[in-house]
């Protein structure tokens, strides 16, 4: 397994937003996380990615405890993410957004940059080439010089994904990547997710679009009121009476 969350718990005042959640993510797969609004899915992402400190449990990633690490350290460790509410550097251009995403993989020191050393120079050139490659990967190469905030909603989602991929993560957390996309973009996303998987990156994804989720996920966890209600293959989840009840009761 690549990531194992054991008994992850977090409280906001009296509210237990995530309650003893056990989640296991196997490498090379797309794992889905679903649940009604307010179930605690995004909060669970925030627990793994170091935005929140958890109140209980532990998170082990690639054989190493990562709970308690700060956000930037978790990115360094090999987990990157996108956000439910788009969280780009809006005034920076598209290319620079991807370059920032590479931060934890660039070795250049402050002094090497100050003196513009040959090593720094060639690393920058390689980074630029890699960033352009990522833009091409999602068809944004024509938008490299645009401020990120000027892209369409769907394009911004794609940019967040490649900004996350720029740090060569082992695992990427996608929080509702299809939200705000039109049906064409959703169909393309379906293909894109599989291409990402093909590059050796494991995916954990939150998504409300059940058609997309059931089509791409290898395994699904269902969160309800902060607790894991069920987990299994998509077909099992769709038949699970508890899940059906939670969704009917929840929405």
């Amino acid at each position: 397994m690549l990531l194992e969350a054991r008994g992850v718990t977090i409280r906001f005042g009296g509210l237990v937003a995530v309650n003893h959640a056990d989640v296991t993510i196997d490498p090379g797969r797309i794992t889905g996380l679903i649940g009604p609004n307010g179930a605690g899915k995004t909060t669970f992402f925030n627990c793994i990615s170091g935005v929140h400190k958890i109140d209980g449990g532990e998170v082990v990633f690639a054989g190493r405890r990562i709970d308690g690490l700060r956000g930037f350290q978790i990115n360094e460790a090999g987990i990157s993410r996108t956000y439910q509410v788009i969280n780009l550097f809006r005034k920076m251009n598209v290319l620079d957004n991807v370059m920032v995403g590479m931060h934890s993989r660039l070795r250049q020191s402050f002094w090497a940059s100050l003196f513009h050393s040959p090593g720094q120079h060639s690393e920058e050139r390689a980074a630029l080439a890699k960033a352009r490659g990522l833009l091409k990967f999602v068809g944004l190469e024509g938008k490299a010089g645009y401020p990120a905030g000027n892209l369409s909603y769907g394009e911004q989602r794609l940019l967040e994904i490649i900004r996350g991929l720029a740090s060569d993560p082992k695992l990427i957390l996608l929080d509702e990547p299809a939200a705000g996309m039109n049906s064409v973009e959703k169909a393309q996303l379906d293909v894109l997710l599989k291409r990402i998987l093909g590059t050796g990156v494991t995916i954990l994804m939150i998504e409300h679009d059940m058609k997309l989720m059931m089509g791409v996920a290898d395994y699904i966890y269902v969160l309800n009121y902060g607790s894991i209600l069920a987990h299994g293959e998509p077909a099992e989840i769709q038949r699970n009476p508890d899940v059906i009840k939670a969704y009917l009761g929840g929405e």
Partner: protein, 339 residues
């Protein structure tokens, strides 16, 4: 749909830089000839010194988005530190400037350490307090080593036996140093470090998610910024041969900030535009010395109300319009080419 913004200036800039350089080299001779005295050259030296100081402020404020209302403290620490090293430890002027700025930036790093946790308003308050502390120390020094309210005298720069005792001589050193500091700024900005600064300015939360150690880079920005501004202070000390305690006053910090905002933040030319115009304005309005802070206030208001990208941002907009391109109407003005 907007046109893509060009990513980098490229080749045509070299011609402009060459012309600017030649003009800069001939300037002292031309000015002295025109005015019959070297006061205008003295002002030019101050312009170069302030370009370094304000470029430093730009690194912390324009690029990493942290406000400092106490940068005069670094300017004064550079000036007094360097003067004291020369007077009491017999340092030559240039090593003294360097040592004093390293010391001042170390103090800057210590200040930034707790301050990097503070949010915007508290940071600005703590930088004001810091400026006040430095002023008090300078004006109430043990054994009056800093000259207290009278100020501190020190030596001119001696460059391999050649004494730079007139503005017309110091000017070329100042020009070379300003060019060096500006070049260093482009290197810093065009790197992983510079992108981290911009990322922090725009969105700390996302920056953290992208693997950027936000506190570390805030401290780095503050330290580099302190180095620039304190080095400028050292230059001032050894250009004039004297530093006044007024340099540590809040008024001086406000001047730096006015120059930066008026010229435009987050760019290389912004501080240059700002320093030149504000200096010339202040000189033109010399008869109204008592109202200087009032004038700064008006300049800031102009920027806030009418020139959000500063003078440089506005001139770029005009240039784009004259070049008959479809107007990009980029509200952010100067910031776009910082990225």
């Amino acid at each position: 749909m907007r046109l893509p913004i060009p990513e980098h200036g490229g080749g045509k800039n070299t011609a402009a830089v060459t012309v600017a350089l030649v003009a800069a080299l001939l300037l002292p001779t031309a000015l002295t000839f025109l005015f019959g005295n070297d006061y205008p050259v003295f002002i030019c030296c101050f312009i170069l010194i302030y370009i370094i100081a304000v470029s430093g402020l730009d690194i912390v404020f324009g690029y990493s988005g942290q406000i400092s209302l106490g940068h005069a403290a670094f300017y004064a620490m550079g000036a007094y530190g360097s003067g004291l090293l020369v007077n009491f430890l017999d340092f030559p002027a240039i090593p003294a400037m360097l040592a004093a700025s390293i010391l001042a930036s170390a103090i800057g790093a210590l200040l930034a350490w707790p301050a990097s946790k503070l949010v915007f308003h508290f940071l600005s308050l703590s930088t004001i307090a810091f400026g006040e502390i430095v002023y008090q120390i300078i004006t109430h020094s043990p054994d009056k080593i800093t000259g207290d309210f009278i100020g501190l005298r020190s030596e001119f720069v001696n460059l391999f036996g050649y004494l730079l005792d007139r503005p017309g001589k110091f000017y070329y050193l100042a020009l070379a140093l300003a060019a060096l500091f500006l070049l260093a700024k482009t290197h810093i900005v065009d790197s992983k470090v510079g992108r981290a600064f911009l990322a922090i300015r725009e969105n700390t939360h996302a920056a953290d998610g992208m693997g950027i150690n936000v506190r570390k880079y805030k401290i780095v920005a503050f330290t580099v910024s302190a180095f620039y501004t304190s080095f400028a202070g050292g230059m001032y000390m050894h250009m004039v041969g004297y530093a006044s305690p007024d340099t540590a006053l809040q008024k001086q910090s406000v001047l730096f900030l006015t120059m930066l905002l008026f010229g435009g933040t987050g760019t290389l030319p912004g501080p240059i535009f700002g320093v030149v115009t504000v200096m010339l304005l202040v000189e033109a309005l010399r008869d109204f010395q008592d109202y200087q802070v009032f004038i700064y206030g008006i300049l800031m208001l102009i920027v806030i109300v009418a020139l959000p990208g500063g003078l440089y941002g506005a001139s770029k907009d005009i240039y784009h319009r004259l070049a008959a391109r479809p107007a990009t109407a980029d509200g952010e003005g100067g910031t776009s080419d910082a990225a």
